[in-house]
C-alpha cells in the first residue's frame, strides 16, 4: 500500500482556462499536485475537465480596520492596523495559538535549537504557493516560475525578508526586534564593514533556514512568527518599488489576498483558494470566510453605531457606550471582555526639572487614584497597573506586587512634594509657575483620562498641570529623547503592546536606556541624551536578557520592574488593557492576545447573518 502515491497536499491550480465558454460549459483546468512517491517529492500536472456550478454567494465578514493602514508591507508594519492587514496576506514562520498563546507551527512545520540555544533551524512547508489577484478577471492566480511551474515560498524568501527588514535602506522601525540575530544591529545601524552577508540568517537548502543569534534566546521562535520575518517576494519588490503592496501588483502567500484598497476608505480581501492549510485543501484551518470587507472608521462611536445597525460583525466598545452595553439585554450578551497584553502609562521626562527629583515623581505617581480611574472613567474592567508587563508575559510580577510601596496616598504624595519645595525654597505657586505640561496624542479616550488625572493632581497636590495633545506622528517626534528640554513636555502618555510574550520585549526593549528609545531620558549625561550612564535597572535587564536559568531570569525581572516603578519611579504605570468588544451572535471568533487577528479561523453562520441583515 505504501507504494501507492500518498497525497501530501492538493493544489487546485492555475486558472489556465483553455476553453472559456459559457457558464455551464465544461472547462479544462490544469491541476498541479505535489505527490510523495517512495519518499521523493514529485510535481504532477494533469489536465482535468470540470463542469463549473454557479458560484455560491461569498460569506462576507464586515469589519472596521480602525484607520488607514500606514502600510501593508510586513517589513515596515509597526501599528496594529498594518499588522492586521499584513498578517492576512503573509505567513510568519510561527504563530501564536489564539486561545493559549503558545507558539505553533505556521509556515515552518518544525524547528530545533542547537546545543546552547544560539542557533535555530526552521523547516518550512513545501506547498505554500505565491499568489496574485488578477484585477481584470477578479480571480486569484498562482505565480509561475520560469519553467511554468507554480512558484513556492522557500527558505531563500525568508532569508531575503530578514535581510530586507534589517537593511538600513528599508528603514523599518521594527528592525530592532531582529537585533537578536547575529550582526543584525551592526548591519541595521550601518556599522563599518558589516554587509547583508554577515547577518546570521542563511537558507541551508530550499526548505531549511538557519538563524544564528547574538546570544541564546529561548523566545526566538516567537520572534520568528513576527511580521518582520514573513517571506516577501523579492522579484516584485525589486520591480515595483514602494508601490508593490497595491492590489494587482502585490504577490502574497497568506490565507487572504488583497482585492481592493481605496485609501482612507476601505480595504477588501478575498480567500486565497490555493492556500494549503484550508480544510478544503487538506489542511486543518476551518474558517469559512470568503471575503473580508473592511472599512476605515476612526471614531469608535461611529463604528459602534454601524455595529448596532448590523453593518459591522464585530467592533470595539467606546468608553461612552460602556454603561449601556453592559446593561442592555441584547448587547450585554454580545459583549466580550478579556485581559489584553498591553499597558497604558505616563512617562516622566526624568532629566527635566522638577521631574529630575525622585520625590516629585513619586508625589505625582501616588496622587493618581488608578482604581477610581478604572472604575469611573474607563469602566471596561481594566486592572490598575503597578508595574510594566501585564500578567501572561514571562517574567512579569503579579499584579499589585508593588502597590503597597506605591499606593494611592494623597497625604504621602503631598508630604513628598512639600519636602522637595522646602528644600528648594519654593512655594506651590513657584512650582505651578514652572508650567508642568502633560501631553498625549490626539484621541477621545486619552483626552478623557488626561482630564481626570489633571484634576486628581489639582485636588491632591494643588498642582496645575497643562494638558496638550498632538497628532500621533508629530507627537512621537516631540517626545523623542533628542528634543530640546524646553520643548519636550514634562509628562507624556504612551502604551505598549506585546510583540512576543517575554519581559525582554517590555522592560529591556522599551526602557533600557541604551537599547530602547529612552523617552524617559533616564541616566542622561547631557540634556539631549547623546550619552547615557547605565543605572541599576539597565544592568539588570541586560543580565536577564542573556540569563539561561528561567527562575533566575524571573527574579532579575522582578527586581528590574521594582527598580523602575518604585525605586526610580521613572514612570506611572496606569492600567493593563482589556479587550472590550461586541460580536454579532452569528460570528464565531477568537481573541488572539498578540499578532494579527486570525480571520482565517473565524466562522460565520451565513444564513443567520442574511436573515438579520435582510440581505
Amino acid at each position: 500500500m505504501k507504494k501507492i502515491a500518498i497525497l501530501v497536499s492538493l493544489l487546485i491550480v492555475a486558472g489556465l482556462l483553455l476553453a472559456a465558454c459559457g457558464q455551464q460549459a465544461p472547462q479544462t483546468v490544469v491541476v498541479t499536485q505535489v505527490v510523495e512517491k517512495n519518499g521523493e517529492q514529485v510535481v504532477v500536472t494533469q489536465v482535468v475537465e470540470v463542469t463549473p456550478t454557479p458560484p455560491p454567494e461569498p460569506v462576507t465578514l464586515d469589519i472596521n480596520w480602525g484607520t488607514e493602514p500606514p502600510t501593508a508591507d510586513p517589513g515596515l508594519a509597526t501599528d496594529t492596523t498594518s499588522v492586521a492587514v499584513a498578517g492576512q496576506m503573509f505567513m510568519g514562520l510561527t504563530k501564536f495559538n489564539p486561545k493559549t498563546g503558545e507558539v505553533e507551527p505556521w509556515l515552518a512545520t518544525s524547528w530545533e535549537a542547537s546545543e546552547g540555544g544560539a542557533v535555530y533551524t526552521f523547516h518550512l512547508r513545501k506547498d505554500v504557493p505565491w499568489v496574485k489577484y488578477n484585477t481584470a478577471t477578479g480571480e486569484v492566480e498562482q505565480v509561475l516560475d520560469d519553467n511554468g511551474n507554480p512558484r513556492m515560498v522557500n527558505a531563500h524568501d525568508v532569508e531575503y525578508a530578514v535581510k530586507r527588514t534589517l537593511d538600513p535602506a528599508t528603514a523599518s522601525d521594527y528592525a530592532y526586534v531582529l537585533y537578536i540575530i547575529k550582526n543584525g544591529q551592526a548591519f541595521n545601524t550601518g556599522a563599518d564593514g558589516v554587509t547583508a552577508d554577515d547577518v546570521g540568517v542563511k537558507a541551508l537548502d530550499d526548505w531549511t533556514v538557519q538563524f544564528t543569534l547574538e546570544s541564546p534566546a529561548g523566545f526566538f521562535p516567537a520572534i520568528a512568527g513576527m511580521w518582520v520575518v514573513s517571506p516577501v517576494p523579492q522579484w516584485v519588490i525589486e520591480a515595483a518599488g514602494e508601490k508593490w503592496t497595491e492590489p494587482g501588483t502585490v504577490v502574497t502567500n497568506g490565507p487572504y489576498v488583497m482585492t481592493e484598497w481605496v485609501h482612507g476608505s476601505e480595504l477588501n480581501m478575498k480567500r486565497n483558494p490555493y492556500w494549503p492549510l484550508w480544510a478544503a485543501n487538506g489542511g486543518d484551518i476551518k474558517g469559512n470566510i470568503d471575503v473580508i470587507h473592511g472599512v476605515m472608521i476612526t471614531e469608535e462611536s461611529t463604528a459602534f453605531a454601524l455595529y448596532e445597525n448590523n453593518e459591522l460583525d464585530t467592533t470595539g466598545v467606546p468608553l461612552g457606550e460602556m454603561d449601556r452595553v453592559k446593561s442592555d439585554p441584547e448587547l450585554s450578551k454580545e459583549y466580550y471582555n478579556a485581559p489584553d497584553l498591553c499597558t497604558y502609562y505616563y512617562g516622566f521626562v526624568n532629566n527635566k526639572p522638577p521631574f529630575d527629583d525622585v520625590r516629585v515623581r513619586k508625589a505625582f505617581a501616588m496622587a493618581v487614584d488608578k482604581q477610581s480611574l478604572v472604575d469611573n472613567v474607563l469602566k471596561g474592567g481594566q486592572t490598575p497597573a503597578d508595574h510594566f508587563a501585564p500578567p501572561g508575559i514571562f517574567g512579569a510580577p503579579d499584579p499589585g506586587a508593588f502597590s503597597k510601596e506605591m499606593p494611592f496616598d494623597p497625604e504621602k504624595a503631598k508630604a513628598l512634594l512639600q519636602e522637595y519645595l522646602d528644600e528648594k525654597g519654593m512655594t506651590l505657586d513657584d512650582f505651578n509657575a514652572l508650567g508642568i505640561t502633560l501631553m498625549h496624542n490626539t484621541s477621545e479616550s486619552h483626552a478623557k483620562i488626561a482630564a481626570a488625572i489633571q484634576q486628581m493632581w489639582k485636588d491632591n497636590l494643588g498642582v496645575d498641570v497643562k494638558v496638550e495633545n498632538q497628532e500621533w506622528k508629530v507627537y512621537l517626534d516631540t517626545i523623542k529623547k533628542t528634543t530640546p528640554l524646553d520643548e519636550v513636555p514634562h509628562i507624556f502618555r504612551l502604551g505598549w503592546c506585546v510583540d512576543y510574550p517575554d519581559e525582554n520585549n517590555w522592560v529591556y526593549e522599551v526602557f533600557n536606556n541604551t537599547a530602547g528609545a529612552n523617552r524617559l531620558r533616564r541616566g542622561c549625561v547631557d540634556a539631549t541624551c547623546t550619552e547615557v550612564k547605565p543605572m541599576k535597572f539597565d544592568e539588570l535587564t541586560e543580565q536577564a536578557k542573556v540569563e539561561q536559568d528561567p527562575e533566575k531570569r524571573k527574579e532579575l525581572y522582578y527586581e528590574a520592574e521594582h527598580e523602575l516603578a518604585v525605586t526610580e519611579a521613572a514612570y506611572i504605570p496606569l492600567y493593563f488593557y482589556v479587550i472590550n468588544t461586541v460580536t454579532k451572535p452569528w460570528l464565531q471568533r477568537d481573541y488572539p492576545p498578540l499578532g494579527a487577528p486570525n480571520y482565517w479561523d473565524w466562522v460565520i453562520d451565513w444564513n443567520a447573518k442574511k436573515a438579520a441583515t435582510g440581505g
Partner: protein
C-alpha cells in the same frame, strides 16, 4: 472767512444727515420682531458671559468621579430606552453631569465666555484691520490699491483653516517653551490666565480681516465718486477727514452686517480647533469641546451633547437673525 463758514455749515448738515441715517436704520430694525428678539438673546448671552462665575452653581473643573454621567430624574424622558438600567440619577446637577462628574450647566455657562469672547474679539480685530486697510486701498487707488489688493489676494490663496492651525501650532509651541521677558512674556502670562484663549483670538483675528478688507474697498470705490465726497473735497477737507468722517460711516453698514453673519463661523472655528486640540486648554470649557465630548456617547447619554449643542444653535441663530435684520435695516432696498 466765507470759505470757513461754508465748511462749518457743510459739516453741520452732513452730520445731521448721518445721524438720521443711523436713526432710520434703528427704526427699521425695531420693526423687525425676529431681529429684536435675537438682539435680546445676544444681550442676554453677553450678560451670561460676564457673570458666568456668579451664575454657575459649581466650578467648571470640579469633578466628582462617583457622579460620572449623572442624570437628573426630571430629564429621564430625554434618555434612550432602558436608560433606567444604567443611568445614575442625581438631582444635585440641574442638567446632569459629564463623564467626569462635572456639572453640565456650569460648564455650558462658562463656555459662553469662550464662544462670545471669540465672537467679539475676532470680529473687532477683523473689522478694524479690514476696514482701515480696505478703505485706504480703495480711496488712494492706483498703484497702491493694486499692491495692497494683490497682497490680500495672495493671503486669500491660503486655506483659512490651515493658516489658523499653523499659527496655533506655532503659538502653542511658543507657550510651551515660555518667554524670558518683555512683551512676549506678558502675552503668554495673559494667555495662560485665560486658558489659552488669547492666542486663539489672535490667530482667528489675524486671518479674518481679509474678506472685510475686500468688502470695504469695494464700498469705498463706489462711494468715493459720490457727490458728497466731491463736495467735501471741494471745500478742502483733508484725506483723513474724508476717510473717517465721510467714507467709513457710509460703508460701515454692510460691513457690520457681514461681520454679524461671520460670527457663527468664528464660534464654529473655535469649536473645531478645540476639538482638534489646538483651541483652549482643558479643563477650560468651550461648547466645541463639550460637543466633541458629548458626541462620543450620544446614544447612551444624549443630554451631554444636547445642552451645549442647544446653546451653540441658539447663539448661531440669534447672530444670523440679527445679521439679517441689520442688513434689512441698513439697506432697505434689499428687503423689498
Amino acid at each position: 472767512m466765507a470759505v470757513a463758514n461754508l465748511s462749518a455749515e457743510d459739516e453741520e448738515i452732513l452730520s445731521r444727515r448721518q445721524r438720521s441715517l443711523w436713526r432710520d436704520s434703528l427704526a427699521r430694525l425695531m420693526r423687525n420682531r425676529l431681529a429684536l428678539i435675537s438682539g435680546a438673546v445676544v444681550v442676554l448671552l453677553v450678560f451670561v458671559a460676564i457673570f458666568a462665575d456668579k451664575m454657575a452653581p459649581y466650578d467648571y473643573a470640579t469633578q466628582d468621579l462617583d457622579a460620572n454621567n449623572a442624570v437628573p430624574s426630571y430629564l429621564m424622558w430625554l434618555m434612550p430606552k432602558h436608560a433606567e438600567r444604567y443611568a445614575k440619577i442625581d438631582n444635585s446637577f440641574l442638567l446632569g453631569a459629564d463623564y467626569l462628574g462635572r456639572d453640565l450647566l456650569s460648564r455650558t455657562l462658562y463656555g459662553t465666555r469662550v464662544s462670545l469672547s471669540i465672537a467679539v474679539v475676532a470680529s473687532l480685530v477683523s473689522l478694524t484691520v479690514g476696514t482701515i486697510y480696505g478703505t485706504i486701498s480703495g480711496y488712494v487707488g492706483g498703484k497702491v490699491d493694486n499692491l495692497m489688493m494683490r497682497l490680500v489676494d495672495f493671503l486669500y490663496g491660503f486655506p483659512f483653516l490651515i493658516v489658523v492651525i499653523l499659527l496655533q501650532t506655532y503659538f502653542k509651541a511658543l507657550a510651551r517653551v515660555g518667554a524670558e521677558g518683555g512683551f512676549a512674556k506678558v502675552l503668554l502670562d495673559w494667555n495662560a490666565k485665560m486658558g489659552g484663549m488669547l492666542l486663539l483670538f489672535i490667530a482667528i483675528g489675524l486671518v479674518n480681516w481679509i474678506g472685510m478688507a475686500r468688502l470695504a474697498r469695494g464700498q469705498v470705490l463706489s462711494y468715493k465718486e459720490k457727490e458728497f465726497v466731491e463736495a467735501a473735497r471741494a471745500v478742502g477737507a483733508s484725506h483723513t477727514r474724508i476717510i473717517f468722517r465721510h467714507l467709513i460711516p457710509n460703508v460701515m453698514g454692510p460691513l457690520i452686517v457681514a461681520e454679524t453673519l461671520a460670527i457663527p463661523g468664528y464660534i464654529f472655528t473655535e469649536a473645531f480647533l478645540s476639538f482638534s486640540g489646538l483651541g483652549v486648554d482643558p479643563p477650560t470649557p468651550s461648547w466645541g469641546i463639550m460637543i466633541s465630548e458629548g458626541v462620543q456617547n450620544l446614544r447612551t447619554y444624549p443630554l451631554q451633547i444636547l445642552v451645549p449643542a442647544a446653546a451653540l444653535s441658539i447663539t448661531t441663530l440669534a447672530f444670523n437673525f440679527l445679521g439679517d435684520g441689520l442688513r434689512d435695516a441698513f439697506d432697505p432696498r434689499m428687503a423689498e
